[in-house]
């Protein structure tokens, strides 16, 4: 079973001519995830996990978006400010 799995894992650095807002970036990334998901779903279910971590570089404070897809067209987006703080330091 495991040997039939396909793994695709890459880093990309994407430059835009005009800077984009976080909201515009999120829309683009959602589209990107959905387009991959549509080719890989079976009866609406992704038999795996499509996930993406985007570092938005132009901001003064480091900011990430975590995108994840397990069911067709249902992209889940979590910005880094919503990740739990588990450092024990507040």
């Amino acid at each position: 079973m495991n040997s039939e799995a396909t793994i695709f894992s890459r880093h990309y650095c994407v430059f835009f001519e005009k800077s984009l807002t976080t909201v515009q970036m999120e829309i683009l990334l959602r589209e990107f995830m959905m387009s991959i998901g549509r080719t890989m779903s079976r009866y609406g279910t992704i038999l795996g996990h499509i996930k993406l971590l985007a570092k938005l570089s132009e901001l003064a404070v480091e900011h990430y978006l975590f995108l994840s897809l397990t069911t067709l067209d249902n992209v889940n987006v979590i910005p880094s400010k919503c990740w739990p703080n588990a450092s024990g330091v507040h």
Partner: protein, 197 residues
């Protein structure tokens, strides 16, 4: 040093759940936690999620077949024990691994832990589809776990009672907790998950 080994299919909610467990252990119990992340693929995502949440994380990239990673896992646990001496090591297996197989090897060859628990996360939203298409893997991940976390109960999917019944057909004594890791877990659930001998 106690070990929690988390398994469960790709995208079932392992990282989301572990983040909450780790947060509970570090902030409420004031205990030291180290995460071992066994991720598929070279461009790690989960290790960055853990690190950005302020957790110490060791990444083990590589194959997803349990037996290939076990020796690396044992040496990583030994190293963590010697150099960091945490109260807890939380391991996130890949979504294709069979956690109880890894648990068996660790119990056999690792001597540095005081308690050990294997936890498998099940995705309510995709239960029927995954059982229909990947039954041997899904059942293999569940079998032999000390605790099953039935996650994503906020999503539509198979009836929770039916999934519970099917889980108990696999093992009638199986302990099952029902959660939505996308929301704050209750203290009772957090304590149930970390309760181990």
């Amino acid at each position: 040093m106690r070990i929690l080994l988390f398994g469960g299919f790709l995208g079932s909610g392992k990282t989301t759940t572990i983040l909450q467990i780790a947060k509970y252990l570090t902030t409420i119990r004031q205990e030291k936690v180290v995460i071992i992340e066994n991720e598929i693929g070279a461009a790690g995502v989960d290790d960055k999620l853990f690190a950005n949440s302020g957790l110490q994380v060791k990444s083990l990239f590589g194959g997803c077949v349990c037996c290939q990673i076990t020796s690396d896992l044992i040496s990583t646990i030994d190293e963590i024990n010697e150099t960091m001496n945490p109260d807890w090591v939380i391991i996130e297996m890949t979504g294709l691994a069979y956690p109880s197989k890894t648990a068996m090897s660790l119990k056999k060859y690792s001597k540095v832990y005081s308690a050990f628990k294997t936890i498998t996360i099940v995705d309510r939203g995709r239960w029927s589809e995954l059982i229909a298409m990947l039954k041997p893997l899904v059942l293999g991940q569940i079998t032999g776990s000390d605790l099953i976390i039935l996650n994503k109960v906020d999503l539509v999917g198979e009836a929770i009672e039916k999934i519970e019944r099917e889980l108990h057909e696999i093992d009638e004594h199986m302990k099952v907790v029902i959660i939505s890791a996308a929301k704050d877990l209750s203290l009772a659930v957090l304590e149930e998950v970390v309760c181990c001998e």
